[in-house]
């Protein structure tokens, strides 16, 4: 009883294989059969295996975390990178640099993460880090409406002064503190939609959505254009013609 007839696919398959056979008839293979040295199969294959970027491409992207003080930027990064959480995370004085890889189906994205200082005092230094960033996570604290207002101003600043193609994600952190919520999810979501940016509520404490956030960003990034590696050496400026000083 014949249950399934040959599918077309299979037929094609066979056709293709037959073609293959024909191709194999190359004069190079007309070797005498006798006196062939016995080759150990385990030493095989002897073909030269070419390497090229076939397997997971790794794309490097600079990502910056912005947001008001004590909203949990560093906690998010620490959760993401080391899967740890500290209730009393020291405030970041400076800009911490870490890398972390996210594997997608079609590519591997390696984030070069800059975790910035949130204190107002250092606000003017933020452009040093978001300049040239491919992605930015703007963090606010769902229990603190001021931090949401702050996040909005960060979004504005980034839209105005950041790279034009920067992928912005708005993260409402401390989502575990539902009872103390002061920022409505819908409101934030509507704001994000209006501005065409990603939005997610996260909890660095219970790690909810932390990874998902980075994955979403990774997915949104254009994988085709790989970012050039950071210049290890400053580009030497072309010498200007010396001007007469008199």
């Amino acid at each position: 009883m014949v249950i399934e007839e040959k599918t077309e696919e299979k037929n094609n398959n066979n056709d293709r294989c037959d073609d293959h056979d024909i191709k194999k008839v190359s004069p190079l293979l007309f070797l005498p059969l006798t006196n062939i040295v016995v080759i150990q199969p385990s030493k095989l294959p002897l073909r030269i295996l070419l390497l090229f970027t076939m397997s997971n491409r790794v794309c490097h992207f600079k990502l910056v975390l912005l947001g008001d003080t004590a909203v949990g930027k560093s906690c998010l990064v620490v959760r993401f990178v080391r899967d740890e959480f500290f209730e009393f995370q020291e405030p970041t004085i400076g800009a911490a640099f870490l890398t972390q890889t996210v594997a997608l189906d079609d590519a591997t994205v390696k984030f070069e993460i800059w975790d910035t200082a949130g204190q107002e005092r250092y606000r003017s230094l933020a452009p040093m880090y978001y300049r040239g960033a491919a992605a930015a996570i703007i963090v606010y604290d769902i229990t603190n409406p001021d931090s949401f207002a702050g996040a909005k101003s960060w979004v504005k600043e980034l839209q105005r002064r950041g790279d034009t193609n920067v992928v912005i994600a708005l993260a409402g952190n401390k989502a575990d503190l539902e009872s103390r919520r002061k920022v409505d999810f819908q409101e934030a979501n509507a704001y994000a939609e209006e501005n065409g940016i990603l939005h997610m509520e996260t909890s660095a404490k219970n790690s909810n959505n932390v990874r998902a956030l980075f994955v979403e960003i990774a997915k949104s990034l254009p994988k085709a254009t790989q970012q050039p590696e950071r210049e290890a050496f400053p580009i030497v400026m072309q010498k200007e013609e010396t001007r007469n000083c008199c």
């Binding site: 009883m1 059969l33 890398t99």
Partner: protein, 823 residues
């Protein structure tokens, strides 16, 4: 048959072991679910997160990448610093490591299922008509049930004559015949009982001259079969014709990759080397162009160790399970005479024959089928029979041949124990001069749980990231907030920061300017050193010094500046640290203007720097609270008190400590202690010379030559043009010096001395002091300019020129004021 059962019994217990992942949604197709076979060698669970530093499986690695010649398409590049790198190759090598890690942990994300594979091979000698194949294909169904995969290979489906070898028309017809025959046998009403889930679906057929291989799979498994590809290799006449060679089909079954090769190797008893060579040729030449997607998937599933192939084709060793069968043509060694072989074969006394079986000998010597396995031969030699009978060919008109096990089935498994042979036997079908051979295998099939695999991949990447993050430079600063506390005018305060390299790599640090800025920090801070390098554990100090000079004091007083700055310390290739520098300026009357000083009746220290607070406390619109700054009055009063008769008054240096204390008293309103008059004199000159705006603006410096005739006019104009507060101060000072000059005898000053405006006058003489007093001048004209006019509003060059040409004029003018009562 008992022998076969023994084989099964021998292999079975050995593989009865743990099954870390219980079988779930795919019920085992085996009717013996308890026999969860797989290897004791398989790394057990519970040791997750470990790094595999060496190849763990103790079986030989079938597709060891050691032999692979790794070539990168991209050439090595040399970086600016002369290093040679190949990013592509490096990424590849990294990938390889990752895949190796994942593969070594595949138990964590793989569900192992048991399936049965039937493999049959028959050299049909161009025969075959209506006889039933079920005694060959379905022989053990009563025992094990229908297998999940049925693979059948044929040799000599056509006569291997020159025409058939060259033109494959007949081969196509015959292969169709055999495939149909297999299909109808498998799917006979008796077997399927009308249940469509018991039917078999043909996956692929591949033939080459006399060779044919076809794969059938049970219908329910069909959706889990992917990437079915076939290939054929001719190694016969001229090394390429299809009279000898192999046909092969590969596929992905669930997440295991399977490869079936049906081969017909070189004939003749003595031609062992030819067979070995044929095998090697077929093995090497087989290649499946499965496409990048398939390769990618196979790699991801941890099935392929040849990660680095970089092509979209795979070869025999790239498969989890390989079955190699066919008429391999190995005979019994010639050391046993043909007649004896015949005798022993007929008698079924196989041991001696097995010992002298060429394939066994060659395999043992490692000359062929390396790493392949074969079950014990428990059946009589399968060649050469008298067609249509069960008798070995002994007819007198035929050449006497020694019976042999030409027809064999071997396998190769990446994971040891993933294949267990349930039986290995032959069928008694007699149309051909060969007997068909068959074997059923219990195989372990991988079914990858993608979510879990992702988890493992994430773990592996995380581990790499951790190393990478740990190799970033790291330092610790003993403090990042430098609070200098109250900082006074003309004071230098230094605070050190200790930097320790707490990382694992050499750390280079340097201070960098803030965005869009040029200087590393504000002008009142000096840092040394601004860069450095530390080996792990090494420490160094950075010194930060605050100095409040006149210009800074002025900006602080006018709220153009606060003692607050952030310095960025950058680690090369690492993070940034911010160092906060703060201080509170303890206000001083020094560096202020007389116009402002006359506003405040309180000591200057009590006057808030913040303009809003200040406005609350004082009426800043009123002209002045006092005629002259109280500080000036206090200094002059103190000099009076201590006596103008002091010898060398204004030409003697004061005590620095006293000078500092006098300044503090002026700023805080505290009363003076017993300080020397010389210190006061120095404070006076310093006070006047450091005023933020000069008492005499540059505009008042006479530009025309002064002589006896016009001096009156100049002095009148000079005084008329002065603003009220500076006027008061000027009059006050001139009066004071007149008073001083009355004591000329004692203090040895003279009007010319006082008024002589010699450039480059040495020692802080009285002349110099007066010069500063009256003109807010100095030793050099550059300072003169700064004093006379506010540098930010005036043009320095102009004022220098003005000052230069009118030096003499001013001298005369001041002398006049001192000597006459013209005011």
């Amino acid at each position: 048959m008992t022998a076969n059962q023994q084989i099964a019994a021998n292999q079975y217990p050995a593989v009865q072991n743990t099954m870390p992942i219980p079988q779930q949604h795919h019920p085992p197709s085996s009717p013996r679910p308890a026999a969860d076979a797989y290897s004791p060698n398989t790394p057990g669970g519970g040791t997750s997160n470990r790094v595999v530093r060496a190849k763990t499986p103790n079986s030989p690695s079938k597709n060891n990448s050691a032999g692979i010649i790794v070539a990168s398409r991209a050439a090595d590049e040399e970086t600016e610093d002369g290093r040679i790198r190949n990013r592509e190759a490096s990424a590849k090598i990294r990938d390889a490591w990752i895949y190796k890690q994942i593969r070594s942990r595949q138990d964590e994300f793989t569900q192992y299922k048991q399936g049965r594979v039937f493999v049959g091979t028959w050299n049909v000698n161009a025969k075959g008509k209506e006889e039933s194949l079920s005694s060959w294909l379905c022989a053990d169904w009563h025992q094990h049930g229908p297998p999940d995969i049925v693979v059948v290979g044929f040799q000599e489906i056509v006569d291997l004559n020159a025409v058939n070898v060259a033109v494959e028309n007949k081969s196509a017809t015959r292969s169709q015949f055999w495939v149909e025959k297999i299909r109808s046998t498998l799917n006979s009403r008796q077997n399927t009982l009308g249940d469509p889930t018991r039917t078999y679906t043909e996956l692929a057929v591949k033939f080459l001259v006399g060779l044919l291989v076809c794969v059938f799979v049970k219908a329910p498994h069909k959706p889990r079969v992917k990437y079915v590809h076939s290939d054929s290799v001719g190694v016969g006449v001229m090394g390429m014709m299809g009279n000898k060679g192999g046909v092969t089909i590969r596929l992905q079954f669930y997440d295991s990759t399977l490869c079936f090769i049906c081969a017909h190797l070189a004939a003749h008893r003595e031609n062992v080397a030819g067979r070995n060579a044929d095998f090697a040729n077929v093995y090497t030449k087989i290649s499946f162009e499965i496409g990048h997607e398939a390769v990618q998937e196979v790699i991801k599933l941890g099935s392929m160790s040849q990660w680095a192939m970089g092509t979209s084709s795979v070869g025999v060793p790239d498969h989890d399970l390989v079955f190699w069968f066919g008429d391999l043509n190995y005979r019994v060694d010639e050391s046993i005479p043909t007649e004896r072989v015949m005798e022993l074969s007929k008698a079924g006394m196989l041991e001696e024959l097995i010992e002298h079986d060429q394939l066994n000998i060659e395999r043992a010597a490692g000359r062929v089928f390396r790493d392949f396995e074969e079950g014990p031969l428990g059946f009589k030699p399968t060649y050469k029979y008298q067609p249509g009978t069960d008798l070995y060919e002994e007819r007198p008109d035929k050449k006497l041949r020694a019976p042999a096990w030409c027809d064999r089935i071997l396998w190769l498994a990446q994971e040891p124990g993933h294949v267990a042979q349930l039986n290995y036997t032959r069928s008694e079908l007699n149309v051909s001069d060969h007997k068909p051979v068959m074997s059923t295998f219990l195989v372990t099939i991988k079914d990858v749980i993608l979510a879990k695999r992702e988890g493992v991949y994430r773990d592996v990447m995380k581990m790499l990231d951790t190393y990478e993050n740990n190799s970033l430079p790291l330092v610790s600063l003993d403090r990042i907030n430098l609070d200098f506390g109250e900082v006074r005018y003309d004071q230098r305060v230094t605070l050190p920061i200790v930097i320790t390299n707490t990382g694992q790599v050499v750390a280079q640090f340097r201070l960098v300017p803030k965005i869009d800025e040029v200087e590393l920090c504000k002008s009142w801070i000096t840092v040394a050193p601004t860069y450095g390098m530390l080996i792990p554990g090494e420490q160094t100090e950075i010194e930060m010094t605050i100095t409040i000079d006149n210009a800074t004091a002025h900006r602080l007083n006018t709220s153009q500046e606060v003692l607050d700055d952030v310095i960025i310390l950058r680690l090369e290739n690492g993070r940034d640290y911010y160092i906060s520098v703060t201080g509170k300026y303890a206000r001083s009357c020094f560096g202020m203007s007389v116009d402002e000083l006359v506003l405040y009746t309180d000591p200057i220290r009590e006057v808030p720097l913040d303009p809003i607070l200040r406005a609350k406390k004082y009426d800043l619109n009123s002209k002045a609270a006092m005629c002259v700054p109280k500080e000036l009055w206090r200094i002059i009063d103190a000099i009076y008190e201590r006596g103008l008769d002091e010898r060398d008054l204004f030409t003697t240096t004061g005590d620095p400590d006293e000078v500092y204390q006098i300044r503090e008293c002026l700023d805080t309103g505290a009363s003076f202690e017993k300080f020397s008059v010389h210190s006061f004199a120095e404070v006076l000159t310093s006070f006047l010379s450091n005023l933020s705006s000069p008492i005499i603006p540059i505009t008042l410096v006479p530009t025309l030559d002064i002589d006896a005739q016009n001096i009156q006019m100049f002095t009148r104009k000079f005084l008329e043009d002065m603003l009220p507060v500076p006027y008061n101060v000027f009059i006050y000072i001139i009066s004071f010096f007149r008073e001083v000059l009355l004591h000329e005898q004692m203090n040895r000053l003279s009007p010319p001395k006082v008024a002589r405006f010699a450039d480059g006058v040495t020692d802080a003489s009285f002349i110099f002091a007066i010069f500063l007093t009256i003109l807010c001048a100095f030793k050099s004209f550059r300072i003169l300019c700064n004093c006379l006019i506010l540098s930010q509003t005036g043009n320095v060059d102009d004022s220098v020129r003005a000052g230069s040409s009118s030096r003499g004029n001013m001298q005369q003018l001041m002398l006049h004021f001192l000597q006459t009562n013209s005011i």
